[in-house]
């Protein structure tokens, strides 16, 4: 038997409104007295917390893709009976229905540049400084500010590090990301261009992707499109997203 949630509506109203003050008090009393409600409430909170681990979810998604891609490459023999007349008729009807649905759904949806940026930009998890990245206290403090999402403070510290070590690609990369978060798109563009110009480093692909998104956010649409085309036609790990976004960019 399929189990169902029974308090979702009220939990949703309590957490995100609307709910009157008296109802809220009643709900809070019940939360203490009703273990089933309490359990479902906790589940609600736990799920949300786990979904905020954007980086782990992204990692899991990519692992699944690697596994599934590998499975898809296994060729299974085609069963010739599949091609029987009735299967062909059924397939044709299904195709026509799908085609009709697709035509109906093909009404163009317009996206603003900012909408597209929001759709495709996802903030990077804060990382600790690598062994190879000239570890020192300043780096740690700067990354710590980044982790705490205090991006302006992180930028001040990143700039201090870059004054002494301007070729530190790792810090350049996070300066770019922090600049996006602090709405300093021009600075972010400067950093990502620097990384790309250096070539042959592990950050180039991501820098290209973020640079294109920054151009989009800055309404430099043609420059963004050129870069998305370049990403789309390359082995960049963002090539599929770049292909999608190109279809959505308003002409």
């Amino acid at each position: 038997m399929i189990k169902k949630t029974s308090h979702s509506q009220r939990i949703e109203q309590y957490r995100f409104g609307p709910m009157s003050e008296s109802e809220r008090l009643k709900f809070e009393r019940e939360l203490i007295e009703n273990p089933e409600l309490n359990h479902e409430f906790q589940l609600d909170l736990e799920i949300e917390e786990s979904l905020k681990q954007y980086d782990i979810i992204d990692l899991r998604r990519k692992i699944f893709r690697a596994i599934n891609e590998d499975k898809a490459q296994v060729k299974y023999p085609v069963n010739k009976s599949f091609h029987s007349k009735w299967y062909m008729v059924a397939a044709s009807i299904t195709f026509l229905i799908l085609l009709a649905g697709a035509i109906h759904l093909m009404k163009p949806v317009k996206y603003t540049n900012n909408n597209l940026f929001e759709m495709y930009y996802s903030s990077e998890n804060a990382h600790s400084v690598t062994r190879s990245a000239a570890t020192n206290n300043n780096n740690e403090e700067a990354m710590s500010k980044y982790r705490e999402k205090d991006f302006n403070a992180a930028l001040v510290l990143f700039n201090e590090i870059l004054d002494k070590d301007p070729n530190n690609i790792y810090i350049r990369y996070y300066t770019g990301l922090a600049s996006i978060e602090a709405n300093q798109t021009d600075k972010a563009i400067h950093e990502f261009k620097f990384i790309i110009d250096q070539k042959n480093n592990l950050f180039v692909e991501n820098a290209q992707w973020y640079l294109a998104l920054c151009y989009l956010k800055n309404n430099q649409v043609e420059t963004a499109k050129d870069l998305f085309v370049q990403i789309s036609n390359s082995s960049n790990s963002h090539n599929q997203e770049a292909t999608q976004i190109l279809k959505r960019i308003t002409k």
Partner: protein
């Protein structure tokens, strides 16, 4: 195929670069599967252990707790091996029965907490079910968690009204909760809790 150095693999994993994840899968999954299938496991177990091992490695990298004193291959094998041993509950009494296929390093042993904590098990369960939702649902829920306003969510997702965005978000979360509570592993985790 391009060969990556161990350092490039670690940096690539830190950035969650898809080509590195695929590379690690192509290079090391068969090793993990061989180990697990030859020690009472299935292909599905191998995929599960591979995923858990990579998440543990990633967490160690971003927490700056990874020190490679052996090759990445040996390190990764040891992580998979220890996860599987712990899962089999053989760590103490039956480790002598265990058949190894690669050299191992003691330095990479994942803690019991990394593998078996209720917290981690729950998070994994929730995240896997989340990834099985439709792309539309995943996007709505993530936008909402990022505190994007319902107005903006409607605009981004192409919904006509904010009310619909709210309803959609609620239904997606309901779908997710329903899948979770109907997963036999959910009950098992809570029984263990």
């Amino acid at each position: 195929m391009i060969r990556y150095t161990d350092e490039a693999i670690v940096e690539g994993l830190r950035l969650r670069k898809e080509k590195i994840i695929k590379y690690v899968y192509k290079e090391y999954f068969s090793m993990a599967r061989h180990l697990i299938v030859n020690n009472s496991g299935t292909n599905q177990d191998a995929e599960d252990v591979f995923q858990d091992a990579l998440v543990i490695v990633y967490k160690r990298i971003i927490d700056d707790e990874l020190s490679l004193n052996s090759s990445f291959k040996t390190f990764f094998y040891s992580i998979c091996r220890n996860i599987w041993l712990q899962r089999l509950g053989k760590m103490k009494d039956r480790s002598n029965d265990f058949v190894d296929f690669e050299s191992i390093t003691n330095l990479s042993e994942p803690t019991n907490d990394e593998i078996n904590s209720i917290e981690n098990k729950k998070q994994k369960l929730y995240q896997i079910h989340f990834l099985n939702l439709s792309e539309d649902c995943q996007k709505v829920l993530q936008l909402f968690l990022r505190k994007i306003s319902l107005r903006e969510i409607s605009s981004i997702m192409g919904y006509k009204t904010e009310k619909y965005a709210k309803t959609r978000k609620f239904k997606c979360k309901e779908e997710l909760k329903s899948r979770i509570i109907n997963d036999p592993n959910y009950l098992k985790i809570y029984t263990d809790d």
